[in-house]
């Protein structure tokens, strides 16, 4: 059994007006030390899938179906207290905006030590040494001084390093990073991403990387998951999916990337936008935007099935491959 296994995950927001289904059956697995990329346009449900693993979905959203297994333990049925023992300890998270992730009124040191205190028993001095060692490991200059600093005294890049240090503090088995570099300066994005990969390798940490950047996914991940309107539309090894995408949506995403040979030219954007949860199209949710649509696409929901050595949910996958 894989280290992490998500099966048929469903997340719903029972609102007064309607019951919005943010995830409609998501499956994926992650092996020890493996890296999985999750891509898809805004609103696809990437963050939802990540938050669901640690049961961090904000009210009134809840997991309404499926199972999440981690290291032989079922996570989605754990009590809050039991879940607390997993969070930050076995599975850590890194969020998008380091300006918002650290608490503005608490020092870096406080925010690190409390994480240790929540999961381990050790002396104050031991804890502080460990924290400073971690700050050094993420290449923060003069870590002793930074330890006592407040977040606003650090640059965005340094703050994200602090967040990474906190995520690594307890040697988790998995780190979930939700667009960890999107909010950063372009110049330091690569630096932070490189640091994360190095640390994940050193500590054999599995990584779930959520991003809009397909170039990064193809650089650093072994597996990828393409999501659309709360479902997985294509998944497989990153190399295969990127080289020969089978789902029209994946193709669209790849074509909208700036290519070497079309530098400066117009990007091929997929026409239309991601549907809102209140009005998900019938059949294949992508059909109104797809150029290969036929009658079957609008009436019958395509199941995720093996096509070649990957999984695709498209009625025309074989024909398009």
């Amino acid at each position: 059994m894989a280290l992490l296994e998500v099966r048929g995950l469903e997340v719903a927001f029972p609102l007064r007006a309607a019951r919005l289904q943010a995830l409609r059956g998501v499956d994926f697995t992650l092996e020890e030390g493996e890296r999985l990329g999750i891509v898809g346009e805004s609103g696809a449900g990437k963050s939802m899938a990540a938050y669901a693993i640690l049961n961090l979905i904000s009210e009134p959203g809840r997991i309404s179906g499926g199972e999440i297994w981690f290291d032989g333990q079922r996570l989605d049925t754990l009590s809050n207290d039991e879940m607390r023992g997993i969070r930050g300890n076995r599975i850590a998270m890194i969020f998008q905006d380091p300006m918002m992730t650290l608490n503005p009124v608490l020092t870096v040191g406080t925010q690190m030590i409390e994480c240790l205190a929540a999961h381990r028993t050790m002396s104050e001095a031991q804890a502080q040494d460990l924290c400073i060692a971690k700050l050094r490991e993420v290449a923060i200059p003069s870590p002793e001084a930074r330890f006592n600093a407040y977040p606003h005294e650090l640059s965005g890049g340094l703050r994200q390093r602090v967040v990474i240090a906190i995520a690594l503090l307890l040697d988790p088995a998995i780190i979930i990073a939700d667009e960890p570099t999107t909010a950063l300066d372009v110049t330091i994005q690569a630096e932070i991403m490189g640091l994360m990969m190095e640390l994940c390798d050193n500590h054999r940490v599995g990584l779930i990387l959520i991003t809009h950047d397909l170039a990064v996914v193809s650089d650093v991940t072994q597996k990828m998951l393409v999501m659309y309107a709360g479902r997985v539309v294509e998944t497989g090894t990153t190399a295969q999916v990127i080289a020969r995408p089978a789902h029209p949506y994946t193709r669209g995403l790849l074509q909208s990337l700036p290519q070497k040979n079309t530098a400066g030219g117009m990007l091929n954007q997929i026409p239309g936008t991601m549907p809102s949860l209140a009005a998900v199209p019938s059949g294949c949710a992508f059909h109104p935007r797809c150029e290969h649509t036929d009658a079957r696409c609008s009436s019958e929901l395509p199941q995720l099935r093996a096509v070649g050595r990957r999984m695709v949910s498209c009625h025309h996958a074989e024909a398009l491959k």
């Binding site: 969070r87 300890n89 969020f95 918002m100 608490n103 409390e114 994480c115 929540a118 606003h152």
Partner: protein, 327 residues
């Protein structure tokens, strides 16, 4: 060092505010009745009056008179009360402990009720208790304080006969201070007025804390705190509440003025022998020096509490420590 610079700046601001208040106070003296009538009565002839006026400097130009007033005021001389025939400042300060203890008790009630209730309502916004608290506080905001006071007197003092409804009761003299905190009778006299006074602010603060904290609970850093596996008490009471405090302190500082203003009403309804009650009596007797002394003392209290509030704010918010101004 930053704190020192901040204090110096604040002291400068305080001086300006006090100067403005002194001008207002002096203008009142200039316009409110004829001081001679209060002093000498009707029977004195006009010539003698003029002579007295000249002697007292009442015919001097405005600025000369104001300067005289200011130099005396700085030395603590705010004139002599017509009614008590004693220095006005001394009369006011004699009533200060009563008002101070009333405001202190009301502040404690406000803090110890609004903080837990506000936090609870923010964490469980849909619970029955939260809905009830919100409904009650809506009503509380719209009921005038004298109604609350009169109803509480009727219920607890007259109908149930549990609590005294007027005066301070037994007080203990500490030499420099007369306190009602140290006797059971004094404390029981404090309950109804303090509750009435706190009822003005309670709904506001409960709603404020609830609203701000709900906002904070949606923030990324609170989500990150959960993701670290922290205990809920730490997430709510440290991560969320410390951030909630910032806007609450700012509003609290402004509301101190309102609270002092409402002591006049509360003290009058409960016959509480404090500065506010004294002030209203002074107004009725056109005891101008006493009115002015009250205004200046209250202005000073306001300036001091605001400085304290600002200091607390800088202690909670690390961002202001760097720049010395609210960011």
């Amino acid at each position: 060092m930053d704190t020192l610079a901040f204090l110096i700046k604040r002291l400068g601001q305080a001086a300006v505010v006090m100067l403005v208040i002194s001008i207002i106070g002096f203008s009142i003296q200039d316009n409110l009745g004829d001081p001679l009538r209060e002093l000498v009565g009707q029977s004195v002839s006009e010539e003698v009056r003029d002579e007295l006026r000249e002697e007292m400097g009442l015919n001097d130009p405005f600025f000369v008179q104001y300067w005289r007033f200011l130099t005396k005021a700085v030395q603590g001389d705010l004139g002599t009360s017509y009614f008590f025939k004693k220095p006005a400042l001394e009369v006011i300060m004699g009533k200060f402990p009563a008002t101070f203890e009333l405001v202190l008790a009301a502040t404690f009630i406000i803090i110890f009720v609004s903080v837990p209730v506000g936090i609870y309502c923010a964490i469980h916004p849909k619970s029955f208790f939260s809905r009830l608290a919100m409904a009650v506080s809506i009503v509380g905001i719209s009921v005038p304080v004298f109604l609350t006071a009169i109803f509480s007197i009727y219920i607890f003092a007259i109908y149930l006969d549990w609590l005294p409804s007027y005066g301070r009761g037994d007080t203990v003299d500490l030499g420099f201070w007369r306190t009602g905190f140290l006797s059971l009778d004094g404390l029981s006299h404090l309950i109804l007025p303090a509750l009435a006074l706190s009822s003005i602010m309670l709904p506001l603060f409960i709603r404020l804390i609830r609203g701000e904290m709900m906002e904070v609970l949606r923030s990324e850093y609170v989500r990150f705190a959960w993701a670290k596996g922290l205990h809920p008490s730490r997430v709510y009471l440290l991560h969320a509440f410390k951030n909630t405090l910032l806007p609450v302190i700012t509003v609290g500082g402004v509301q101190v003025g309102t609270l002092i203003a409402y002591t006049i009403l509360t003290e009058t309804v409960f016959q509480w022998p404090g500065m506010g009650f004294l002030f209203l009596e002074a107004v009725n007797r056109v005891d101008t020096p006493l009115i002015i002394a009250y205004i200046i003392v209250v202005g000073l209290i306001f300036v001091i509490t605001n400085t304290i509030v600002d200091l607390v704010y800088t202690m909670v918010n690390p961002m202001v420590r760097i720049t010395g101004v609210k960011g």
